[in-house]
């Protein structure tokens, strides 16, 4: 892998910006080059939220903006409709099947239906749905080392939040490929 482009989309509050940041932190800890770019502007208010992460192993990231992505995560239906076309041929599309009952329309990409909300609920914390999804992305794409995701989790869930570390690690490994 020289460059890997990831795109995370959903509605505000679904943790899409956090997913992207965790991957970016993990890439940084693994001595890779990375950029994280959120959508910003009027459309953020009440609409879709998304962020773009570009990871490069061998040189600085040329461009933080993308025209296609190796890995696209959609957490709600409007994001699937809008961003399915962004996946590059042969790339991966991760669909949050808890909230999206439609299927992908393309057959030149790999599609993963992840019941992120359902799995998180079974674990006992619905708010870890984005971490379940992140686990699926990292498991499939191998874009960053799992230990580096642990490292950012350990930094994030410390002090007052320390009790959330275990459940997040569980959530990260909860999804299994079929």
């Amino acid at each position: 892998m020289a460059t890997n482009k990831l795109f995370f989309a959903g509605s505000g509050g679904q943790g899409v910006l956090t997913m992207g940041q965790m991957v970016t932190y993990a890439a940084m800890y693994a001595d890779m080059n990375a950029t994280w770019l959120p959508s910003y502007g009027p459309e953020m208010r009440g609409g879709t939220a998304n962020c773009t992460v570009v990871i490069s192993t061998d040189k600085p990231v040329s461009c933080p903006l993308i025209y296609e992505a190796d890995n696209v995560v959609v957490m709600n239906l409007p994001s699937l409709v809008k961003f399915e076309s962004l996946v590059k041929p042969g790339g991966n599309l991760f669909i949050n099947s808890t909230l999206i009952d439609q299927k992908a329309t393309r057959d030149d990409i790999n599609v993963y239906y992840v019941d992120a909300g359902g799995i998180a609920l079974k674990l006992g914390n619905a708010r870890t749905a984005n971490v379940v999804m992140l686990g699926a992305v990292v498991e499939v794409s191998k874009v960053v080392p799992v230990e580096m995701i642990y490292k950012i989790m350990e930094k994030t869930f410390s002090g007052r939040k320390a009790h959330l570390l275990d459940i997040n690690k569980q959530a990260f490994h909860a999804w299994k490929p079929e």
């Binding site: 940041q21 970016t24 932190y25 890439a27 940084m28 080059n33 990375a34 950029t35 994280w36 770019l37 959120p38 910003y40 502007g41 009027p42 600085p60 990231v61 040329s62 461009c63 933080p64 903006l65 993308i66 025209y67």
Partner: protein, 358 residues
């Protein structure tokens, strides 16, 4: 080396100028840089500095003028229409030779415009905006780390030249996060140091030495002499402050010229063209004034066309033409109003241009 941290542009810019010695911030909020005053209001008081939200951009720049005249290291930031209001003060600061660090997160214009990235303020920042014969060095970084390095050095550079220095970014860079290394904080100047370090400043000397910091010179003979003196300084700046990065230009058939955010898109377009066997290169001006005209002298006869790649209707292209001196055709690829092209869009347009010029 210090540990890498992941930082959002706006916070990194603010942290970098504090580490560079700034202790006074005057500002008025405007998207897409309002996180800078927010950061300053939180952080400056902790580090012995002062944050002051002015009643307007005009208020902010004139407070900074007063602060700088007294020897303080001041910083102001705004975005395009706010910078327009501040430019009256910038002319005064240049005339009075008062240092100041300025950040402009430029957005789509004209008018109030949009909050998305724009580069249509190229004329505004390189050609004045304020009145009279004056110059302000303008640097346009293309990554958060480069912005940090430039902002860290900016207060000392402004002091050295006794002139405002501007850093031009945009909202995309302000919102983006990249891993960065922060430089060691400099020891800030104290009131006791100022008479020694800045003998020209109005520092309240006890020995009856009189400092005068002013921009009013009613006698034309005196003003002419003063402006001539300023231009001796600006001429030296032109020699010493040019900064540029060139990539793969020696045998390039097509050479992009781009700065800031657009340079990152142009770089990817260059790489895509190279992967398709088309020899492409990039000239990335880091200083917009003084513009690195000399970089174009390195282009060889292999070059077929130079393409100014801009987020405006074409402003830098005038400097590109001055640098090219008629040796090659100069074309424009652009979007404006806050719209960004994709790198593929740049590639496609470049191929069309190449067909025309071949």
């Amino acid at each position: 080396m210090a540990e890498k941290v992941l930082m959002k542009g706006n916070e990194a810019f603010a942290e970098a100028v504090i580490r560079g010695g700034v202790r006074f911030y005057f500002g008025y909020p405007i998207t897409p840089q309002s996180e800078i005053p927010e950061f300053m209001s939180r952080e400056l008081p902790k580090r012995g500095g002062k944050f002051l939200q002015a009643e307007s951009e005009l208020g902010a720049v004139n407070m900074a003028y007063g602060c700088g005249a007294a020897g303080g290291n001041a910083f102001i930031s705004s975005s395009s229409p706010g910078i327009a209001l501040m430019q009256e003060g910038m002319s005064f600061l240049c005339s009075a030779e008062v240092p100041l660090t300025i950040l402009n997160a430029s957005r789509g214009g004209p008018g109030i415009g949009s909050i998305q990235p724009g580069q249509a303020d190229y004329f505004q920042v390189t050609r004045g905006g304020g009145n009279g014969d004056y110059r302000i060095p303008v640097f346009a970084p293309a990554s958060i780390q480069e912005a940090i390095d430039i902002l860290y050095d900016a207060p000392a550079l402004a002091d050295e030249w006794r002139n405002p220095v501007m850093i031009l970014v945009d909202g995309l860079m302000g919102q983006m996060m990249e891993p960065v290394v922060l430089p060691e904080p400099k020891t800030p100047v104290t009131s006791a140091d100022i008479p020694k370090l800045k003998p020209w400043a109005i520092s309240g000397s006890e020995k009856g030495q009189r400092s005068v910091v002013k921009s009013l010179r009613l006698q034309p003979e005196v003003l002419e002499q003063h402006v001539e003196k300023l231009f001796e300084k600006y001429n030296r700046m032109e020699q010493e402050l040019q900064k540029v990065e060139c990539d793969s230009i020696e045998d390039a058939e097509v050479v992009f010229v781009a700065f800031g955010t657009m340079a990152r898109l142009a770089r990817e377009a260059m790489e895509i063209l190279q992967s398709q066997g088309i020899k492409a290169g990039l000239i990335r001006p880091i200083s917009l004034w003084p513009f690195p005209y000399y970089a174009f002298d390195a282009l060889t006869d292999k070059t077929k066309v130079v393409i100014s790649t801009e987020l405006s209707m074409g402003q830098m292209i005038q400097d590109v033409q001055l640098g090219v001196k008629g040796r090659f055709p100069v074309k424009l690829i652009h979007r404006t109003g806050g719209m960004l092209p994709t790198s593929i869009e740049i590639v496609d347009k470049t191929k069309k241009i190449l067909e025309e010029v071949r």
